[in-house]
């Protein structure tokens, strides 16, 4: 195993981690892992680490040869080297957004949010209205004004599973980061069967809720179009 890191290596490791955060915060890949509101904070954290690393390197350069601090811990794990793991995961592996694998394993958040979404704004502009899956589902379940009834809506999500008379469209909702992702699901009644995990935009009308699962809205779809994964893959 690698020995504990010296001061200079430690500074380089902090630099790499900070740099990876800055790079991530500068692009859209960030949205595969956290919500957009986290962007400035991730950027600040990255910049803070880069600045600290530069100061440490400047000092290490000045006092070349003197003994530095170590990243060793109380039970001999070279913690410093562990910083490489997220750096490589972020920069080299760059894992994709969560999809149907995770959606199949978690329970839906929608039922819980009833009280949060009592007052719904009316839908403005021309139909079809573009709605998030979460917005659509909460409107279906708790909107006394029935704003989604009798009008065309467009929903974007990925195909979670196939059924005889259509497919299940899903989107993951995150509150903080991808670790708390939970799915919202809508049953799309249509004769097309796009492949699992494919992103589609579905236009259609609300057609009641599923008999077996009353929190599960049904959309009678007239158009199903393949689309690219949205920049923010989560709802």
């Amino acid at each position: 195993m690698v020995a504990v890191v010296n001061a200079r290596t430690q500074a380089y490791l902090i630099l790499l981690f900070g740099g990876a955060l800055v790079r991530l915060a500068a692009g859209n890949a960030l949205l595969r892992y956290v919500r957009p509101v986290a962007r400035p904070w991730v950027l600040l954290a990255g910049i803070g680490m880069v600045v600290l690393a530069v100061v440490l390197l400047a000092k290490a350069h000045q006092s070349r040869g003197s003994a530095g601090s170590t990243g060793g811990s109380s039970f001999g794990v070279p913690t410093g080297w562990l910083l490489l793991a997220p750096v490589i995961a972020i920069v080299v592996v760059a894992p994709p957004a969560l999809g149907s694998f995770s959606a199949n394993r978690e329970s839906s958040p929608v039922a819980a949010s009833a009280a949060v979404h009592k007052d719904f704004a009316g839908l403005t502009g021309l139909a079809p209205h573009r709605l998030g899956l979460f917005d659509f589902t909460t409107r279906v379940l708790w909107d006394s004004a029935r704003t989604v009834s009798g009008t065309d809506v467009t929903l974007t999500g990925f195909v979670l599973s196939q059924r005889n008379d259509g497919f299940v469209l899903a989107r993951l909702v995150i509150t903080c980061c991808a670790a708390d992702a939970r799915p919202v699901e809508v049953f799309v009644r249509n004769s097309t069967h796009p492949p699992e995990d494919a992103w589609v935009a579905v236009t259609g009308r609300y057609a009641g809720t599923d008999k077996a699962r009353p929190t599960f809205p049904v959309l009678a779809a007239s158009v199903v179009l393949p689309v690219n994964q949205p920049v923010n893959p989560y709802d």
Partner: protein, 307 residues
């Protein structure tokens, strides 16, 4: 071990890219990166605060600010936790700094437990997630504070053998800038390093344990409370998000969901890793079970009373 996992990951990336499209592997990597990225701003904030304490706050300050009786200092430190707006990752280096500045061990762990649980950001998030049940916010604050105080008292009485963290090789005589650099570099490396281990554990459990499995435990609070307490420990969701996860566990009683929110900020896999790194393994093997059991009991008691 983690380096080995890394080598495997890199090898996979270049020699068997198909494996990364394996859903479980991809989901693992995504959750791992997500936890690391999400926690890093809080961690940097925590390190900034701990560095400021180590450099600018004279050792005598806390002795004057806190009651001199260590048992009385525990509830005061517990309440003071409300002032650090962050989640649990940030409070570990801050608590380490407090211990080093001579704050009694009981008061320090009370702060460690209360800071991520009762600060305004977390309570506002809880009130949004449980908008129909304002009592949940009160119950969460009360149960978390109770946990912090009880564990703090027990720790003050029985925790004598746990050593103070030993991170500063530089004596107080060295210059402020030098101390600031040493403390910041040390704390950031250590917290991030152990966060990495914790994130790996959380990602593994996230991918390995489907939440739908939990439905079996929902009926009866005697099993539901330990089940959700255990879930909080293995999922390691940030304390600012855990209320939304708890709100989604609708098949469970409010008291069981309260246990999820009270245990999570006190004990979870990433905290265990970070505390083991900061305070030592001896600390965490005693502290984590004590905090988990106390938190679950506090949630059961307060939930039974208020919810």
């Amino acid at each position: 071990m983690l380096l080995l996992a890394l080598a495997v990951m890199l090898g996979v990336k270049f020699f068997a890219p198909g494996l990364l499209s394996e859903p479980a592997v991809a989901a693992w990597s995504t959750v791992f990166v997500a936890v690391c990225v999400q926690a890093s701003p809080y961690l940097v904030l925590g390190v900034a605060v701990s560095t400021a304490i180590a450099v600018f706050v004279p050792p005598t300050f806390f002795q004057r600010a806190l009651p001199s009786n260590p048992m009385l200092a525990v509830p005061v430190a517990g309440m003071a936790g409300a002032a650090l707006p962050g989640c649990e990752c940030g409070s570990v280096p801050v608590a380490a700094s407090l211990m080093e500045r001579g704050v009694a061990r009981g008061a320090s762990v009370a702060f460690l437990l209360s800071a991520p649980a009762i600060n305004p950001v977390v309570l506002v998030a809880t009130s949004v997630a449980f908008a129909g049940h304002p009592a949940v916010v009160v119950a969460r604050a009360a149960a978390s504070l109770l946990t912090a105080i009880v564990v703090g008292w027990i720790w003050q009485r029985l925790g004598r053998s746990v050593p103070v963290p030993r991170r500063f090789t530089h004596p107080d005589g060295s210059s402020r800038a030098e101390r600031a650099r040493t403390v910041a570099a040390h704390d950031i490396t250590q917290s991030l390093g152990f966060l990495t281990i914790g994130a790996a554990a959380a990602a593994t459990l996230n991918v390995a344990v489907p939440r739908s499995f939990l439905a079996h435990f929902a009926g009866n609070d005697v099993v539901a409370i330990p089940a959700l307490a255990a879930l909080a420990i293995v999922l390691a969701v940030c304390s600012e998000a855990d209320a939304f996860v708890a709100a989604s566990l609708t098949q469970f009683s409010l008291t069981a969901r309260l246990a999820f929110m009270v245990v999570g900020p006190a004990v979870d896999v990433k905290l265990i890793a970070m505390q083991a790194g900061t305070f030592g393994r001896r600390f965490v093997t005693r502290f984590a079970p004590l905090a988990a059991v106390t938190a679950a009991l506090a949630a059961a008691a307060v939930g039974g009373w208020l919810l």
